[in-house]
Amino acid sequence: MRLAILGAGDVGRSVADLAGEYGHEVVALADSTNAVIDDDGIDVEGALQRKRSGEPVGVDDPDDVFEGEYDVLVEATPTTLGDAEPGFSHVERALEADRHVVLANKGPVAERYDELRALEDESAGSIRFEATVGGAIPVLSTIEDETPQAVTAVRGVLNGTANFILTRMAAEGLDYDHVLAEAQDLGVAEADPTFDVDGTDAALKFVILANVLSDGGFALEDADVEGIQNIPGSALNLAAEDGRTIRLIGEATREGVRVAPRLVPQNGPLAVTGTRNIVQIETRHAGSLHSSGRGAGGPETATAVLSDVSRLADR
């Protein structure tokens, strides 16, 4: 497949870098200001080199990406809330041109799912978005294989930063502020970690899951969200006395979405440590399935994007 990649952050760059290995060709790579476009395939290494050294990724206009010869648009621009722009319009333009779209950007799928599906119905192209939930972990494809009707709930840990902070607090008996500063030093937490620690990032992922289970109807404002900022080290110590620990757990069902710090058994499957993510898919006929792995990172998320691309190619 010929890929046009919008967004040249960790994920977009990794998709460009790994596409060849998965048998696909990159015909465009764009960030918010510049693009490199070539219908015969761009020089990926050259573009990544320029990006690394702070030069423009190319000399083309990002808007011209939509005029190029591509099969799949990879939407990997930063997640935005509310109207989910400009990501939503990118998807809209590609679908209107009957192209496929693979999203790594959570915004459009969490905030405007019903509109996306309506656009898809009018298009010869399809949308896929495995990379928006759980990075490298195959979550949506597992639900697709089980069929969404047979899945009753999805629970789990889908924010590595919050999980890292809670893990360190429990292990070292330290307080939230101390561990957050450490996580920022290590590059695990961003300079502004608000969306990770207040539960928004996890909530977006569980809203997407609820949309998949219910075939739409949910946005972030429908989720009941609590973060970990109020959890002191002493709460984790008390939980440990009872063989439990505290994790930022999300739950998506057809009834709704909830993200909150919850008590879970210390040695249970959901008490993953560090930045690891886990999902528990509760099914009607097959009990609970657990998948755990890296929920973020450029190459990790790129593998999810490229597996979506391969599924589109197999149709």
């Binding site: 002191p232 939980a239 009872d242 609970s288």
Partner: protein, 187 residues
């Protein structure tokens, strides 16, 4: 934890080897040897006695002494234990349609002391017919600052959602953060 699906409404705490924690409420006649007679059938049937809450000050409407026993056993042994208790003439109190209640733990965070922790617990007990089994408090910065409490409650089976709702509303009034257990699935 294991591959066993959790039956709906059966929310005992699962630990290694499929052993679960159950709370049994008994009524004992205030006579010597009664407590021992109540405890023997538990051990004899493969139950592991975990704690006994002997409310000597309380008297049930029938004039007996209520006792709560926490025990661990594999789920298939539990019925035998309850049957053995009854054979020994022990009155096993029914909780709703069930013979036994559930146990839940929550952690409360906030200005617990300043907002009158005992009033908080009483409100939870009174509004939900829950019983506080034990309480562990941690106030590393002193009682004037944020502190945490872990509260273990015995509740009637199937009532957990109502109990959580009460805990949430009581906590909201006092600006406390509630960390609820994850009960769904085999977490």
């Amino acid at each position: 934890m294991g591959d066993e699906p959790t039956p709906p409404g059966d929310l005992g705490t699962e630990t290694d080897g499929g052993v679960r924690t159950y709370t049994v409420r008994l009524e004992l006649v205030d006579e010597p040897g009664e407590l021992l007679a109540a405890l023997e059938p538990i051990a004899e049937n493969g139950g592991n006695l975990m704690s006994i809450h002997h409310e000597r000050g309380n008297i049930t409407p029938r004039g007996h002494i209520p006792v709560e026993v926490d025990l661990g056993c594999p789920p298939d042994r539990f019925d035998d234990i309850v049957a053995a208790l009854r054979e020994n003439g022990i009155n096993v109190i029914q909780a709703g349609a069930e013979r036994y209640g559930e146990e839940i733990s929550v952690v409360l965070v906030g200005h617990l002391i300043e907002t009158d922790l005992s009033d908080t617990l009483l409100a939870i007990e009174n509004e939900t017919s829950a019983a506080v089994l034990d309480l562990s408090l941690s106030a590393p910065q002193g009682t004037g600052d944020t502190s945490s409490a872990r509260v273990r409650l015995a509740i009637d089976s199937g009532r957990s959602e109502a109990v959580f709702e009460t805990i949430r509303s009581v906590s909201e009034e006092k600006d406390l953060t509630v960390v609820e257990p994850l009960l769904g699935g085999d977490a």
